[in-house]
């Protein structure tokens, strides 16, 4: 997979598979063709994704220490697929707003987040808007958080202005599972290490089919 260091605010991609290290905090990604983009360990990111008709995008973001406010805006028109997956551990209080606008026909969207809050607060507000005159669209919001001392607020919103859509959201907030913890301890792993293994596994689990390896907070092919 190509590795690109980018000091621009906009990139037009067409059939690109790449790990992109961004220098700017505001970034627009315009997609045609089939693309797989890994955003490398970006702490602050306001991201605009514009999907041209008949385009496909897998976008993966893994941040060990995310901070501050983030806005993600995804626009889809016709025959597009977006799989947006992001995992992070918060470093400071973090607010994330995701706006997914679906305006045409035959689009699919998966917005998947895995979050860990230690002592910080995380608030994530996901809004999917499906416009009138659109049809045959499918969208899923799948957001799970582990609270390990901090607080997580998840607001999964949907504004659906058409009958021809399948829209679902799944939200879970909890702490580290005690049964999992006991299981790993019963294999001889100390509590603190077991907890970190479970958390790391939780954050990585959404990338398991993407043939990537995560090393110490960074994401690589």
């Amino acid at each position: 997979m190509n590795k690109i260091v980018l000091d621009k605010e906009k990139l037009v991609v067409d059939n690109l598979e790449a790990i992109i290290e961004l220098k700017k905090n505001n970034f627009t990604l315009e997609c045609t063709g089939k693309n797989k983009i890994i955003i490398k360990n970006k702490e602050i990111l306001n991201l605009n994704i514009i999907m041209q008709d008949n385009s496909f995008l897998d976008i993966l973001i893994y941040s060990k220490l995310k901070r501050s406010d983030n806005i993600i805006h995804i626009v889809q028109n016709n025959n597009t697929i977006v799989n947006y997956k992001e995992s992070f551990i918060s470093k400071e209080n973090t607010n994330i707003k995701v706006l997914n606008e679906i305006k045409g026909v035959n689009n699919k969207t998966n917005i998947i987040y895995r979050l860990l809050s230690r002592k910080e607060n995380i608030k994530i507000d996901v809004l999917a808007k499906v416009f009138s005159n659109s049809k045959d669209n499918e969208l899923v919001e799948d957001i799970k958080g582990i609270m390990d001392g901090g607080k997580i607020t998840i607001l999964p919103n949907m504004e659906i202005d058409t009958c021809y859509v399948s829209a679902n959201h799944y939200v879970t907030i909890g702490s580290v599972n005690n049964d999992e913890l006991f299981y790993l301890e019963s294999k001889g792993i100390s509590k603190n290490i077991a907890k970190e293994i479970i958390i790391e596994g939780f954050l990585k689990s959404i990338f398991k089919n993407d043939k990537i390896i995560l090393f110490g907070g960074e994401i690589n092919e």
Binding site: E180, F182, S186, K187, I189, G201, K208
Partner: protein, 250 residues
């Protein structure tokens, strides 16, 4: 040697084990039989110091160390291994990652990755598991039979001295039961551990013959004998010992 002396255990004010005593000598296989809800599974979890259970009185001595005063990790590092009836799945954590961490914590030495991988491959082959099980997430997406075999993979890697099998035969088809039992038998012949087999019936005991069989009811041992006791239960049921009726403590 494992010595459980006058152990009384409660959960939320309810007595689960009542002045319970049991001894397993080195290299011996011990079966604990009983109906549902008699406290059998509780025993394993109490030995592993699960915080859900309160030890009111008594001792659990393993080679002279009182396990009731140790945490779960330290108990496991004494080479005590529990194979439960429904091993849980952990997303995102692979067998290799978990076992490497466990072994390196136990030995406090870095793991020789080449030797580790070779051993994992050999064990997978023996258990008729695909090699990719090494890097599969712990029990994720596995059938009941695969989970039991996966736990055996962990057992062979961790080389325990005391193995507790909590209804390991439940949910296994005939072939899987044979494979699991034969793997346990092979392990026993190689390492001569103590084994505690907790079960409702005789299926596993036909292949791994216990030296001693105890029958438990409502948290107390009510009958003791050799393997013939297990055979008698298979033929006549628990009624033969005037201990019929569901327990309600498990």
């Amino acid at each position: 040697m494992l010595e459980i002396k006058n152990l009384t255990v409660k959960v939320k004010e309810k007595v689960i084990l009542d002045n319970f005593s049991l001894t397993i000598n080195d290299h011996k296989i011990h079966a604990l039989m009983g109906q549902n809800g008699t406290g059998k599974s509780t025993l394993c979890r109490v030995i592993m110091h699960n915080d859900d259970y309160e030890v009111v009185s008594g001792q659990i001595l393993f080679n002279g160390k009182d396990l009731t005063k140790m945490d779960t990790t330290a108990i496991a590092q004494e080479k005590i291994f529990m194979l439960g009836q429904s091993p849980i799945a952990i997303e995102g954590v692979t067998n290799a990652e978990m076992l490497r961490t466990s072994l390196s914590e136990c030995t406090e030495e870095p793991i020789n990755i080449f030797a580790f991988n070779k051993k994992m491959e050999d064990i997978c082959q023996m258990l008729e598991l695909p090699i990719d099980f090494i890097h599969r997430e712990v029990n994720v997406g596995m059938s009941g039979g695969e989970r039991k075999k996966n736990e055996l993979l962990h057992m062979w890697m961790l080389e325990p001295k005391l193995i507790m099998l909590d209804e390991v035969d439940s949910g296994l088809d005939v072939d899987s039961l044979k494979l699991v039992a034969n793997s346990l038998k092979k392990y026993y012949e190689k390492y001569k551990p103590m084994i505690l087999i907790i079960t409702h019936h005789n299926n596993l005991l036909k292949i791994i013959k216990p030296d001693k069989v105890d029958i438990i009811k409502k948290g107390k041992i009510v009958a003791t004998g050799d393997y013939s006791l297990a055979k008698k239960i298979e033929n006549e049921g628990f009624k033969a010992f005037n201990i019929s009726g569901l327990g309600n403590n498990e």
